[in-house]
């Protein structure tokens, strides 16, 4: 008996205009683990990730068919509450995209839009918990009113993660979250992800195979809009079933 999948897609196809970006993707992403999606640039891995919180809706002329179930709820149905969905499925982007607001207000924004604003000391408590979870509290507790752009890139990216965590999501999508960071900061953020996966379902898109190997429990390999293989990370990197996967892992292309 397979474990319950947190996210499950069935025959997922996506078109940007006439471009067929995703073809028949069937993936089962397990709960409370890190799932990495790897593949060469333009293979559709970011597109797939953006399906899970329907960020592709923002791109004009996008058409999606198939089924994406999160906790057995098809999120492609038109009556899906996108606001609730995006609270439940948080997203961290490639470049740290903190708002040009104070650190405190960066975190407060999410609470406000989801009507989670309560008494001031409760907000402060949430902000504190959020920053503690990403290991920023000790550094930043005395300068919460500073503009978030004064932080280092690593701190900014951690703040972006905190901004998602504070909304108490189930799933966190990370779109190449370390590509703007230096190697040491990358390792530290990866450590953070290992801690977070005890409580959250993490899906990380990366073109860095070592990163996928280090950080993930499961790995999906995508190529030209198709999911070629999905298995335990260990298996993908030591004994892949598909020749294409093996070639990519060995660095023959991509």
């Amino acid at each position: 008996m397979e474990p319950q999948a947190k996210i499950e897609t069935k025959d997922l196809n996506l078109f940007y205009g006439t471009f067929h970006a995703l073809t028949d993707v069937n993936i089962r992403i397990p709960a409370r683990a890190v799932t990495a999606i790897i593949g060469p640039s333009g293979c559709g891995k970011s597109t797939l990730l953006r399906c899970f919180n329907r960020m592709n809706d923002l791109v004009e002329h996008t058409q999606v068919t198939g089924r994406i179930a999160i906790d057995d709820q098809n999120i492609l149905e038109p009556q899906t509450d996108l606001i609730a969905l995006r609270r439940k499925v948080g997203m961290v982007f490639q470049r740290p995209n903190v708002f040009s607001l104070s650190i405190y207000n960066n975190l407060k924004f999410g609470l406000r839009i989801h009507g989670m604003l309560s008494r001031r000391n409760e907000i402060r408590q949430s902000v504190r918990t959020g920053l503690e979870q990403v290991g920023l509290w000790d550094d930043l507790k005395d300068k919460l009113s500073a503009n978030a752009h004064t932080l280092t890139l690593e701190q900014q990216q951690r703040l972006c993660i905190a901004r998602v965590l504070i909304l108490r999501p189930d799933i966190i999508l990370l779109d190449e979250p370390c590509s703007a960071l230096d190697p040491i900061a990358t390792l530290r953020v990866e450590e953070l992800l290992r801690v977070l996966c005890k409580d959250y379902t993490l899906v990380i898109v990366t073109h860095n195979m070592q990163q996928a190997a280090r950080v993930s429990d499961f790995t999906g390999f995508m190529y030209l809009g198709r999911l070629v293989e999905f298995a335990d990370t260990q298996k993908i990197f030591t004994n892949p079933a598909e020749q294409l996967t093996e070639d990519y892992i060995r660095g023959s292309f991509g």
Partner: protein, 317 residues
């Protein structure tokens, strides 16, 4: 550096020596004579602009100061009556200053919400084809000569206002405010729109990713991020309103009295200068008083532009 490389090419490629040598000499000529000439021209035009501004200011100052030899500065600044041809004449700038302030404030109240609102619509909401149409319409709006607007004000807007508010005359401050608001709109819209558009796309993505609606994103993230640029747009719009002459001369009724409301005829600083300059005798007190009015106006617009510039500089950071 390029000079070195051309010499090294010349020494390596023997048969091409003369050609390369000629090339080098052309480059050398350009560097020795051409460049300095161009630089001098550019430098000169830069300096000239500064000199002109400075001379204008000096000229204004000199002629204004001539007034204050005959007429006390205090009575000019705080005098409540502008009666230049009575005996003795009174040159109190307060009615004119208040006229300008009233009309400007009225225009701001009208054009700032409207302008920023349209900028928000064009930058964030309108679909692409509508956006292009609107942007060119705004540009056309900017190119309407003020005298045409003034004409429309006299024959159409003033009667409408007179009937609406049951006034004795439609030539009043409000008419001027409405038309000036109209004139400041293009400035405010296009600069605010630039400010909104230059807010990074990633901010919007982040906000949408957190579950924000379009309006929440616009109101809480995009607008605050663009606030410096929008403030600069507003200041530049105000600068245009304060300095505008033709429209107010035509429609505000030209009554240099202290206005009690925008529904009364009044007169601005600019309209006073334009309206009276033709009737004065060169070198008379009246003539110099108009220069002093110009100096007050200059001080106001200078301050506004300075503030706008400060905001723009902050916006660029």
């Amino acid at each position: 550096m390029p000079n070195n490389s051309s010499e090294s090419i010349a020494s390596h490629a023997e048969p091409r020596r003369s050609e390369a040598g000629m090339l080098a000499s052309v480059t050398r000529w350009r560097r020795k004579i051409g460049e300095p000439i161009i630089e001098l021209c550019i430098r000169l035009s830069g300096i000239l602009v500064v000199v002109f501004v400075f001379l204008i200011f000096l000229f204004l100052l000199r002629d204004s100061l001539s007034l204050f030899r005959q007429y006390p500065l205090r009575r000019f600044l705080f005098g409540t009556a502008w009666l230049p041809i009575s005996e003795p004449p009174q040159f109190g700038v307060v009615p004119l200053l208040l006229g300008s302030i009233y009309v400007t404030l009225g225009a701001i109240v009208i054009c700032v919400p409207l302008g920023v609102g349209s900028a928000m619509f064009i930058a964030e909401v309108a679909p692409k084809h509508l956006k292009n149409v609107l942007k060119s319409l705004v540009e056309i709006l900017a190119s309407i000569p003020s005298v045409v607007l003034g004409f429309l004000g006299i024959i159409w807007l003033a009667p409408v206002l007179r009937n609406t508010f049951h006034l004795s005359t439609g030539m009043c401050g409000l008419t001027g405010s409405l038309l000036l608001a109209f004139m400041a709109l293009p400035t405010i819209i296009s600069i605010s729109e630039d400010a909104l558009i230059s807010v990074p796309r990633t901010y919007r993505e982040a906000a949408f990713g957190l579950g924000a609606t379009r309006w929440q994103t616009l109101w809480r993230i995009v607008l605050p991020s663009a606030s410096s640029g929008i403030l600069a747009a507003v200041m530049l719009g105000i600068g245009r309103v304060v300095g505008e002459t033709m429209v107010v001369l035509m429609v505000t009724g030209n009554a240099p009295v202290i206005p009690r409301s925008l529904l009364q005829p009044l007169r601005t600083l600019t309209a006073t200068i334009a309206g009276e300059m033709g009737e004065t005798v060169g070198g008379s007190d009246h003539y110099y008083a108009l220069f002093a009015v110009g100096l007050v106006l200059f001080a106001i617009t200078f301050t506004i532009n300075l503030v706008a510039d400060l905001f723009l500089r902050r916006a660029r950071k």
